[in-house]
Amino acid sequence: MSPKPVRSLLLVLLLCAPLCLAVRAADDWRPVDPAHLAMKTPVVEKDADAEVIFWDVKIDDASEDLIFTNYVRIKIFTARGVETQSKVDLEYFGSHRIKDIAGRTIKPDGSIVELKKDAVFDRTLVKISGIKVKVKSFAMPAVEPGGLIEYRWKEVRGGVSANNVRLQFQRDIPVQLVKYWLKPMSGSPAGMNVQTFHGDVPRFVKDKDGFYSTSMTNMPAFHLEPRMPPEDNERTWALVYYSVEKYSDPNKFWSDFGKRIFESSKQLTKVNDDIKKAAAAAIGDASTAEAKLERLYEFCKTKVKNSNSPEAGLTAADRAKLKKNESPADTLKRGIGTGDDITMLFAALAAAAGFETRICLMADRSDIFFDRNIANPYFLNTTDAAVKVGNQWRFFDPGSLYLPFGLLRWQEEGVLALVPDSKESAFVPTPVSSAKTSMQKRTAHLKLSEDGTIEGEVRVEFTGHFAIEKKNDNDDDSATEREKNLTEEIKQHMSTAEVSQIKFENVTDPFKPFAYSYHLKTPGYAQRTGKRLFLQPGFFQYGNAAQFPTSNRVHPIYFKYPWSEEDSVTIDLPAGYALDNADAPQPFMAGEISKYEMKISVAEGRRLMINRSFFFGGNGTLLFPNTSYTPLKNLFDTLHERDNHTITLKQAASAQQ
């Protein structure tokens, strides 16, 4: 049969009317709406290559196994839609199974090509120690633009419940209708709850056969963008979970939960005589609360080996052999522990020194922004030590590698920490570090040659979160590898650079700034014309690309932590050339959020002195709605422009030939 071109909607309707009846009679596929076959353009997003017509998921938690019955129908608009939607992989593992796969393609002329049973392949992706990750794979037959594909399958998760199952409402292509049915576990003391995130997902309402259902329409495709908040904070999804007690007041839930945490964490921070002695010895003559805590922190960082640190020199086998520390006393006695062991030890030492301490829980903001109105501890997945100083709770995480005293991991800054208590647990906001805390301090002493080559000594120092990231990136590398990576990084900005005499400092030191220095020679740094040399004084910004090059933005813009940059550069000018122009770029500021300044001066007639400073994220402002994209882009475009500012050197008249 050769396909006939579709000439009009009427023809499509005529062709499809009997087809719909036939389909219904032949199988339990849902009838095909002729309008969907006739569709020429997407409904939800105008440029989509394919669009989900409907996406049904029935989740049955009432039987022994958890069963997902899935059915999806997709309209294909373009060749790219064919490319992205034709191949289907359904992954499963362990006791999970995929079964009852069926699929078919409805071509633009209404003819149907079934997915044959033998076209479904069961593959083992990985097998180890008797455990397998498998996938059922198939390619939909005869897919072409204008057609529809549909497939359905059952996923059976053996012996598990729907607790903490995530329901997605968005895909990589837009969706006209997504519908979930949920049948809760029966006979359990726990009730099923559904918490939705980032979208007005209607409440599940009672449906047929013990199911509850909800649906959403016209869901846009979800795509990631650079510098955006965590994915789960932006896409529409729902969390299914069971809870024995039903709380209408989240405060009551957290109060009760806090009490339980308070009780269970007592053992973890238990103080004995050894702990007391160690605390006293570590504190020594420190008199203020701040000084005492700093000494205890330093003790934990330096006297107890962190088994996760490359500095510990342990292989996986060594780690596996380590005995589990059951208490802070064990950690103290053995002198080695995991990050959590060390944090518990710190809490115990602080308690022994007379401080009120707690083990607190908090959410990781690289995963999601926590909402205390949701009565579910699912997202409180990190633990720190909370110590009361005066009337305020202070937070410490000595178990995290390279974290200096007074700083939390950026993921734990500006979040709510649940400080448990036997009576009144409380959510306490953690502080956000200042832009000065995380600084790149860069210096260069350079000499410019007549041919535009620049050469000299360079040093870069990182503090705060920059330092932690750099240490984590470099600690597992050999010296040779570090040099190679740094050279490549420099060449990405200055492709002609020749880098030598590289030295790294404080790569694994938990307290000192991470730093490196090197000798640099870059031919062609300045451009030469007949009588001038053109020089970019923003030496450390040479070759940088614009931060936000595109004009449209869907998601909010999000920065991990505030930061600052301080550059000090001297450039000795070549003989025979004089400054024709040494204007400095204009400074700018954006309220308390950001400020930029570059000062250029000349010493002894031949030495150019450039001081540049920049910070961003003042007042802890790190999250911007997408409506602020244009002004934010303008700020970074201005920064880029000012950093690319050029000054001119002119050949002295006597030197010109």
């Binding site: 440029d47 199952v165 006979g187 292989t315 050999s478 001038r532 001119t648």
Partner: protein
């Protein structure tokens, strides 16, 4: 009722990574009393010294064995030992055994790690991960068994491995690589054949390596080999490493179940023809489709193009079965591929062959290595040198195209790759141009050099009209017209991503040249003649820099300035491979009122055996006209000319960074 519990529901891969790496899963470690075999102990005693600090690991022993039985069964074995010298070298504490499930079994695989303390850890079944090798394919029988001991290893440790497989595949040829990306102390390949059989080997990238023959056992061996390092725009490591390819042949007149032997390329052609020819089935539906696409009275090239376009639109999906029996070379039935509208490279080439058959146009499958034109060696007749399948279509003398080759017996053949959906009939992907490929045509089959299209066929022509304001602001229109592989690059950017992402690519490209530019128009046109057009309009508030309101400076190469050098290293070990390409650009810049030109960049003119470049500015009637042109020929430039190549591109970079200076009148 099921038990109430909180269940771990997330990605299972984490579990596997954990198990593989021996990481934080608290598995018990094998007893320290595990002992290493004597051969490994001996290897571990080899003194290591004098290596460069960049060397992460040294291969102490790399021994492969191949034992062939009268019935064709092959037992493959391997012993290897590597000493880890640096933290990065820990990644060498792993092994992998690739096998095909239809004909091959991994009989035995074990490994040991001798730590610097002398303690030994043994790895056996519990630590072996069996992984699908091509998980993008809908189905593929190729698998790999791996042991990964990275997390247990440390500098100074020696990792040793021993494995055996049993193979009943149809293949009788085996390559052996003596070199790797680490230095090798000793590498050996031993082939044991039944009495009366013979083995032959060809050597690559090394003076001929003669085997030591003892009875029917052949041993090839090399010692103290330096590492092979890949370089940008250079050959892949496999094309550089000292290696041999061994073929074996049963005794004359012997009745053997051994697979097919290949004495010459004719043998390979005949075998591949046997496998593929029956698969080009032309049924009524396929014939009707072919005829409907290609009117009988149309010119020959148009008819071929119509079929080529259709087959390019068939979705690429790979289902690989029977690989050990030659399935990797046998296409699915063309009628089946037509009805499903998907297939892999050989399926698509075979479908096109069948459709052309309906038009009475003869064609032949062509096997080729995709990705490195230097890979295939004439001296080793073997289907195993190839990884891709394209097509050669017999054309009349009237048909003209840049990708026609002359076959001594088959005549004029138009070479085309129907898997590359962006390269039209009449062109060939650049990574296939100049490669040796086998025309699969029974007795007439032959290894042929694929055509190379000239630079002018792969050209980018850009016309820019821009206007500079006295504030330094810029508005501009760019028109690009591309041909050949330049058009393919442009087309690929458009076709394989959503429109919004394409616009972002254009915006990035413009803002790289004009900071903060606002792109107001992006209009791509994919032309039916295989060319591609792009029209872009943009504006930027601060393109030129004003200096004390007296001077204005800007770069006349507004977009796509060459601001980086791709050959960053000062020295080089291997040749530089250059692809055929050309561009020409004219930028007309309307100068701001109240300014005169004070200084222009010097004109640049470069010529070399492999290409030419020129750039120059002139001022005419209030416009600055900047012209640049580059032509690069397809070439493999020897190492001793590296400095010249690097200097050529560095001079282009410098020329395109040079600014124009205007002065206020």
């Amino acid at each position: 009722m099921k038990q109430w519990k909180v269940i771990f529901q997330s990605a299972p891969i984490i579990i596997f990574l954990c198990l593989l790496s021996g990481g934080s899963c608290n598995r018990t470690v094998d007893a320290a009393s595990d002992d290493a075999p004597a051969w490994l102990r001996q290897a571990a005693s080899i003194p290591i010294q004098g290596y460069d600090k960049k060397v992460n690991a040294v291969v102490l022993v790399d021994d492969g064995t191949l034992k062939v039985e009268e019935d064709g069964r092959v037992t493959k074995g391997h012993r290897g030992a590597v000493r880890i010298l640096t933290r990065e070298g820990r990644a060498e504490a792993r092994t992998r055994v690739i096998y095909q499930t239809d004909t091959e079994k991994v009989r035995d695989l074990k490994a040991w790690l001798i730590r610097p303390s002398g303690e030994v850890k043994k790895y056996g079944k519990e630590q072996i991960a069996d992984i699908s090798l091509a998980d993008d394919d809908v189905y593929n029988e190729s698998r790999v068994s791996v042991i990964i001991a990275d997390n247990d290893a440390e500098p100074g440790a020696v990792f040793g491995v021993e494995w055996t497989t049993e193979d009943r595949s149809v293949f009788t040829q085996y390559p052996w690589y003596f070199q790797s990306d680490n230095p090798v102390v000793q590498s050996r390949f031993v082939v044991t054949l039944p009495v009366g059989w013979r083995a032959e080997a060809v050597t690559f990238n090394h003076p001929k390596i003669e085997p030591v023959v003892s009875g029917s056992t052949y041993t090839w061996e090399l010692k103290d080999l330096p590492p092979v390092e890949e370089e940008p725009s250079g050959p892949r490591a496999g094309s550089l490493a000292a290696s041999i390819a061994v073929s074996y042949f049963p005794a004359p007149n012997a009745r053997s179940a051994a697979g097919r032997s290949f004495e010459n390329w004719g043998d390979v052609s005949r075998w591949l023809t046997e496998l593929s020819e029956p698969q080009a089935v032309l049924d009524d539906a396929l014939a009707t489709k072919a005829q409907s696409l290609s009117p009988r009275d149309a010119p020959e090239l148009d008819r071929i193009t119509a079929i080529g376009r259709y087959v390019q639109g068939v979705h690429y999906i790979a289902i690989q079965t029977g690989i050990g029996r030659g399935g990797g070379y046998r296409p699915h039935l063309s009628s089946e591929v037509f009805s499903k509208s998907y297939g892999d490279c050989k399926d698509k080439a075979n479908l096109m062959k069948a459709m052309l058959k309906a038009l009475k146009i003869p064609s032949y499958l062509v096997t080729i290595y995709s990705g490195d034109p230097t890979s295939v060696r004439e001296e080793w007749p073997s289907p195993q040198q190839f990884n891709h399948c394209i097509i050669a279509v017999k054309v009349s003398d009237d048909t003209r195209a840049a990708t026609i080759v002359n076959h001594p017996k088959l005549g004029r053949l138009l070479i085309f790759d129907p898997t590359d959906e962006d390269t039209p009939v009449g062109d060939l992907p650049d990574h296939e141009q100049g490669s040796l490929a086998l025309i699969v045509a029974g007795d007439n089959g032959a290894l042929m050099r694929m055509p190379v299209t000239p630079p002018e066929s792969n050209r980018l022509e850009r016309q820019s009209e821009v206007s500079l304001a006295s504030t330094g602001a810029i508005t501009g229109k760019i028109h690009e017209h591309t041909l050949g592989q330049a058009a393919v690059t442009a087309r690929r950017e458009l076709k394989h991503r959503p429109r919004a992402d394409y616009v972002k690519i254009v915006e990035r490209w413009i803002t790289r040249g004009v900071n903060g530019a606002s792109v107001t128009k992006v209009e791509p046109t994919d032309n039916s003649d295989g060319t591609f057009d792009l029209n872009v309009e943009f504006s930027g508030a601060a393109y030129a820099q004003l200096m004390r309101d007296r001077l204005m400076i800007f770069k006349p190469a507004v977009v796509a300035r060459r601001d980086a050098l791709f050959l960053t290293e000062k020295t080089r070990k291997h040749p530089v491979i250059l692809d055929s390409q050309a561009y020409s650009e004219t930028v007309r810049i309307k100068l701001p009122p109240g300014f005169d030109v004070d200084e222009l960049p010097d004109a640049t003119k470069l010529t070399a055996a492999f290409g030419a470049y020129s750039a120059a500015c002139e001022v005419k009637e209030g416009f600055l006209i900047f012209k640049r042109e580059m032509t690069i020929k397809s070439a493999t430039v020897p190492v001793d000319q590296y400095a010249a190549v690097r200097s050529f591109f560095e001079k282009i970079r410098a020329a395109e960074q040079a600014p124009v200076v205007l002065a206020r009148k």
